[in-house]
Symmetry: C2
Subunit: 149 residues, 2 copies
């Protein structure tokens, strides 16, 4: 590392240490939120990804039930990974999977009573926590000084 004309600490690629700090802080805030979320899900007996699946299904836009493929798209995972996820969740009574009548390849996904209740509780907890974390998150996001480079 070395110093440039303005006294900023530079590393190899010419980046400011203050900027690394800002980005690292942003990623730290993200981790804190994700970590909170994961811990909440775990305390409700769910792996994080299953919680996200419930949320994606409950929050799916439009009136129709989402399919395995739509879930994969929302979770940014491969379709066959979504199929495995769904299969585990059906097995543990968190999802109902019914073949679409119009296209029997498609599997329509809906929450069960139990998972609907679980998701409700988890979401309430998340909204509470986000009230607290949101300012730090927004602040860290704002501090990235995007655009003035």
């Amino acid at each position: 590392m070395s110093l440039d004309g303005q006294g900023r600490t530079l590393s190899g690629a010419g980046l400011d240490k203050a900027q690394y700090r800002a980005i690292a802080a942003f990623r730290y805030e993200l981790r804190r939120f994700l970590s909170f979320s994961e811990a909440e899900a775990a305390s409700a007996g769910l792996p994080a990804q299953q919680h996200q699946a419930l949320l994606a299904i409950a929050g799916h836009p439009g009136p129709e039930a989402p399919t395995v493929g739509a879930l994969a798209e929302q979770l940014l995972i491969a379709p066959h990974t979504a199929a495995e996820l769904v299969s585990r969740m059906v097995e543990s009574g968190l999802l109902a999977k019914t073949a679409s009548t119009r296209d029997r390849r498609r599997m329509e996904l809906t929450l069960t009573e139990r998972s609907d209740a679980i998701l409700g509780r988890l979401t309430a907890a998340h909204l509470e926590e986000l009230k607290i974390l949101e300012p730090a998150l927004a602040k860290a996001l704002g501090r990235l000084s995007l655009g003035r480079r």
Copy 2:
């Protein structure tokens, strides 16, 4: 699900479908960013966690080099998990690990020339991408209607 007096769609715990949509959209934006980050790191030959380790070390506040424990704290992982991560990174020439002279239990971590250059490139790419993703992220965060419940 049922309809309440104002015509909002309710699920088990009394939560609005629009609210599920907002939170799901927020998590989707988060995943998009994390997925971009992971893909960038992978194209530089790094697992996501190793990229985060580099960033945490480069962005560590204060003049001293961070230790394994400090890294664990920043990454929200167990100390022994950080030790394994560091060990893999030292092995592949991404980190230098030297015992502190004042407390020889502590291992001080610094980037190598190579990893410093890699992190510089990755960070530049992230800042570019964040210019694009930040508005969507901030918007999704703002749409959570925190506080008016």
